[in-house]
């Protein structure tokens, strides 16, 4: 009965606090890691691996935003801008100083964390809508600064060409090669987040979200921890920006504009606020959505829509579905895809009995 709580007794607090209190969790997690690290690259071609790559990058960003939004209860509409900070930092380090990825990744993250903390400063005084506006302003200010500062963003069209990452002398060129660069970073980000949210600091974040007055009274310096959440969250965003830059081979602010910030908010909301698994669900879902729509329209839609309008319809459909889904999840299932998954899991936990 290894998928069920009964018949399996936790004999120490350590076991009770484990990431996967039930054996099935450990087995499933190990299975997934093997599936992605071993099986997927063997059986999938470049196209599918490129989709996994882009989804895996999004997972890192969604985890980061969820730490801020879902766990700490502070909003940021400037996350795409933090990604661009990471992207340009890494591109400059790689181009001008010939730095390898294991330097550019943390460097991009740290620079974004510094900027993100700065943007979080108003969180002492303002909450909710006002913080949203403040971070939205940051999004535009950062965009504008990057676009108008050639020293940072390169000359033509504010873009810097990014050299391919090099791993022990091997240049990672193809999607399958990039796959082994991106996926480990994503797995690391997932584990780090799981650890963060089950430790002292993660609990303090949730305390601030639930009851900031009580949090302060039990000794959590609310302002400091809000800034810490901004720092950690934008560190993830910075790393995400670096990964995008390696993936696309170019750092360009146009890849990090307001709609991308909204995409990431949608990932957290649709996936599930305050949930690591939800961040993963949301990132994968939002990444796949346009692809699925396109494939669907190109195969089925051609029978209904004149070929000339197809591209337009696809773009519109994405927006409509996107907005509709956000509203659906906000109203009907605020806990997101993660909640749906939990319902399925709980059903099987007591299977074959109905309760």
């Amino acid at each position: 009965m290894f998928h069920r709580e009964s018949g399996y007794f936790k004999t120490s607090y350590k076991a009770d606090m484990a990431l996967y209190p039930l054996p099935i969790g450990k087995v499933a997690a190990t299975g997934f890691v093997l599936l992605f690290l071993v099986v997927a690259p063997m059986v999938l071609d470049e196209y599918y691996l490129s989709i996994i790559n882009i989804a895996a990058i999004a997972v890192v960003g969604a985890l980061g935003l969820n730490i801020l939004l879902g766990y700490t209860g502070q909003i940021s509409i400037g996350h795409a801008a933090f990604m661009s900070v990471g992207a340009y930092t890494a591109a400059n380090f790689a181009v001008h100083f010939d730095m390898p990825f294991w330097i550019t990744l943390p460097a991009g993250g740290l620079m974004a964390a510094a900027i993100g903390t700065l943007v979080g400063l108003p969180s002492l005084r303002v909450k909710g809508l006002y913080l949203a506006i403040a971070t939205l302003a940051a999004q535009f200010i950062i965009e504008w600064v990057l676009n108008h500062t050639p020293v940072i963003s390169g000359g033509i069209q504010a873009s810097i060409e990014m050299p391919r990452p090099v791993f022990f002398g091997t240049v990672l060129n193809t999607q399958s090669e990039l796959y082994f660069f991106i996926l480990p970073v994503t797995i690391l980000a997932i584990i780090a987040t799981l650890n963060l949210v089950r430790s002292r600091i993660g609990r303090a974040f949730v305390a601030i979200r639930d009851q900031d007055i009580a949090a302060e009274i039990i000794g959590i310096n609310v302002y400091r921890y809000k800034l810490l959440a901004f720092a950690i969250s934008s560190f993830y965003a910075g790393v995400t920006g670096v990964l995008y830059t390696y993936y696309f081979g170019i750092a360009n602010y146009e890849a990090f504009q307001l709609p991308i910030s909204i995409d990431y908010l949608a990932m957290c909301i649709i996936g599930g606020l305050g949930s690591v698994l939800g961040s993963i669900f949301g990132a994968v879902f939002i990444t796949l959505l346009p692809i699925v729509i396109r494939v669907f329209m190109e195969t089925v839609g051609v029978f209904f829509v004149d070929g000339v309008y197809l591209a337009q319809v696809i773009a519109q459909m994405r927006l409509i579905l996107f907005g509709g889904l956000i509203i659906f999840f906000l109203v009907v299932e605020p806990d997101g895809l993660n909640k749906l998954w939990q319902n399925i899991r709980n059903y099987f936990r007591v299977w074959p009995f109905s309760y």
Binding site: N195, R198, R200, D210, A215, I218, I220
Partner: protein, 268 residues
């Protein structure tokens, strides 16, 4: 060390001419009092007397407009609440302020926030120092859960518990910080007789077995007279009387304050 003649122990908390106004409302006016190390100190008075405001000033929630407050001879008048918690003062609220979505266990682990040290990097890694710290503090929290008879509820969401149990969990969260001064704002309000008796027992046990100094606000005179070493009576922001329960009970000013107020609290 102590400047109060005749008292054996040292003074845990000194309140010196503390005052607090809200706009035109004189919530606390020129209150001076000492809370002795290891005692149960009760603050009583009619509604709106300024009791909660007094507690809020001690826990750093408000800063006194005048006068000052010294904890273990350390001026905390202008120290913020999170810093005061770290110094060793914990409290509960008149209106329960639990983290409702979190389990009883998580609430209590949060109570130990000030005693834990794990930083960001160690949290990310978890295995090693962070985990050892978690286990160590979890053991202590389990003792408190045991002490408060909450064993079966440790994984229950705090917000789903009955009122009396929530009060108990809030006490647990405050105790988890192992405070040297514990402030309780009406810990027994709204409880039935049995729950009150339980709560009285917990408060006395904490005071006697752990040696924790306790300051509490309570309306139930029977309880106050039974468990306190000293009582301070407030009315309209001012301290009108102070002494042992017997002294206070016999003070004509106290009787007048209670009978004069619109709602008659039972004076024993």
């Amino acid at each position: 060390m102590s400047d109060t003649a005749g008292s054996g122990g040292s003074v845990k908390l000194k309140i010196r001419g503390a005052a607090k106004n809200f706009g035109g409302v004189r919530a606390v006016a020129n209150v001076t009092a000492d809370i002795q190390e290891g005692e149960v100190f009760a603050i009583i008075g009619p509604n709106g007397a300024g009791k909660t405001t007094m507690l809020n000033m001690i826990s750093g929630f408000y800063h006194p407009d005048e006068g000052n407050i010294l904890f273990e001879d350390h001026d905390i008048s202008n120290v913020g609440p999170s810093k005061i918690a770290a110094l060793g003062i914990a409290r509960t609220f008149q209106n329960i302020a639990l983290f409702r979505g979190m389990t009883v266990l998580e609430n209590m682990m949060l109570g130990r926030h000030v005693l834990m040290k794990t930083g960001v990097l160690a949290s990310f890694v978890y295995w090693g120092p962070a985990q050892r710290e978690e286990v160590r503090h979890r053991e202590r929290v389990e003792e408190i859960i045991d002490f408060l008879n909450l064993t079966d509820l440790r994984k229950a969401p705090a917000g789903a518990l009955a009122y009396g149990l929530q009060k108990r969990v809030e006490l647990g969260r405050a105790l988890a910080a192992e405070p040297r001064l514990l402030l309780l704002d009406e810990p027994m309000a709204g409880m039935n007789q049995e729950e009150k008796e339980d709560m009285v027992r917990y408060v006395l046990d904490v005071n006697q077995e752990w040696g924790t100094t306790i300051a509490l606000i309570e309306h139930d005179m029977g309880v106050v007279m039974d468990i306190s070493d000293h009582v301070m009576v407030m009315d309209m922001g001012e301290k009108i009387s102070q002494g042992t329960p017997d002294e206070v009970r016999a003070d004509p000013k106290v009787i007048e304050a209670y009978l004069g107020s619109t709602d008659h609290k039972e004076v024993a």
